[in-house]
Amino acid sequence: MLQKTVLYDIHKKLGAKMVEFGGWEMPLQYSGIIDEHKTVRNTAGMFDVSHMGQFFVFGIDALSFLQKIVPQDISVLKKNHAVYCQLTNNNAGIIDDIIVYYLDKNSYLIVVNAANIEKDYKWIVQNISQYDVEIKNKSQEYSMFALQGPEAHKIIQNCGISEADQPEFFTIKETQINNIPVFLSRTGYTGEDGFEIITKNENAINLWNFIFENGIKYGLKPIGLGARDTLRLEAALMLYGNDLNEATTPVEAGLKWSLALDKKSDYNGKDAILKQLQNGISKKLIGFEMTEKAIARHEYDIYQNQQKIGIVTSGGYSPTLDKNIGMGYVYTVQEIKTDSIIEIMIRNKLYKAKVVKRPFVKKKYRNKIDTL
């Protein structure tokens, strides 16, 4: 039995085509993936991402506990700041990629992927042992929206939160929109400026409608998972289950920037990560664009000189670039560099592609110099 978000009836009324994702029945598209994609790049779009999970971590050991379960250094996080990181197992395999928000002393919020909610919760609880900490899985109580695009900040202003009062990039604020209590964070999964908004289920419909009333003059449209995937791929943001899994480490996934390399305290998978940083890795993530007309897809094989050298983890059409792009892992780590020519096996034929730098489309975050 698939789960439905509180907004299910609204999506149906908006004419959404629905799809199964991570155990949920979610909108795939409304007006069409390309139209929705361009809306987010040019004006603003809103996604129902209520399938995502929210864990709250409380207690005097909250910080030291988080330090144990992620490679990132949570101790340097300032209040109201957020950080992208991974839950790693003892071999540094990625159990999930998550965002940790520092809400208040001894109080953190973790946002996790929908399909991993139960797995993550189990793993986190398993790790508690001697820590004085309480984990509350509130995923069933909260809804979550992502308002993304260059006009997003104007819409939030129109909703009553002035530019000066809006959280800056990768920070979070507990505030109210239309008298509805929300967690408002400057985060997202599109490569555009924008917000993620978490609220209690009972307020979700109200909040969704209120933001639309205030956003319509900026061209705000509802956006489905189809465009969410093309947007995140252009920004080379990872999709768990495609680009990341438990047999892959953050070092292999090109996520070194999200590791605290000098972190003193111990964490799950630390030895494995340090070893890879010192001795190198046997597979690495690459980005590529097709130079011959064909579309690479998840799980297609990557070749070079008639040898299979890797596998595509994400691939598709980029509406912004009007090119076919993809990411994948190659096992010939030393040989493959930017501009290397590779081939993708598509329906028993090899098509040429060129290794390119990620992201494919430059991120346009506001109030921040993009260093990633």
Binding site: G32, I33, I34, A294, I295, Y317, P319
Partner: protein, 126 residues
Amino acid sequence: MMVPESILCTKSHEYLLEENGLYTIGLTDYAVEQLGDIVFVELPEVGSEYSKGEVFATVESVKAASEIYMPVGGKIVEVNEKIVETPEILNESPYEEGWLVKIESECAQEESGDLLEYSDYKEELE
């Protein structure tokens, strides 16, 4: 959108339309609507022969690749080059501009028994 009266449809959403002794094959309006934005089309070579049910083309939407099957056996005599350059024509005009191939077929009569008239096809979808 006008749906030609005499088309026959497969359960895998191809249509077959006889015109002056040749048969045009394309995708039904339902098929292109379900696929969403079509961004890539791979067509067979003129002169190649396929039997009924064989994959002869691939159509890719933003979301996924779909294989297209022959409604009846035959020989490809013409392919729609326009849709290779501009795949969105398939979404806009599946019956007029957005056809896939034209074939010669000697077995069309005997192999089209399981194809559905458009009204029956629509009914099956419900």
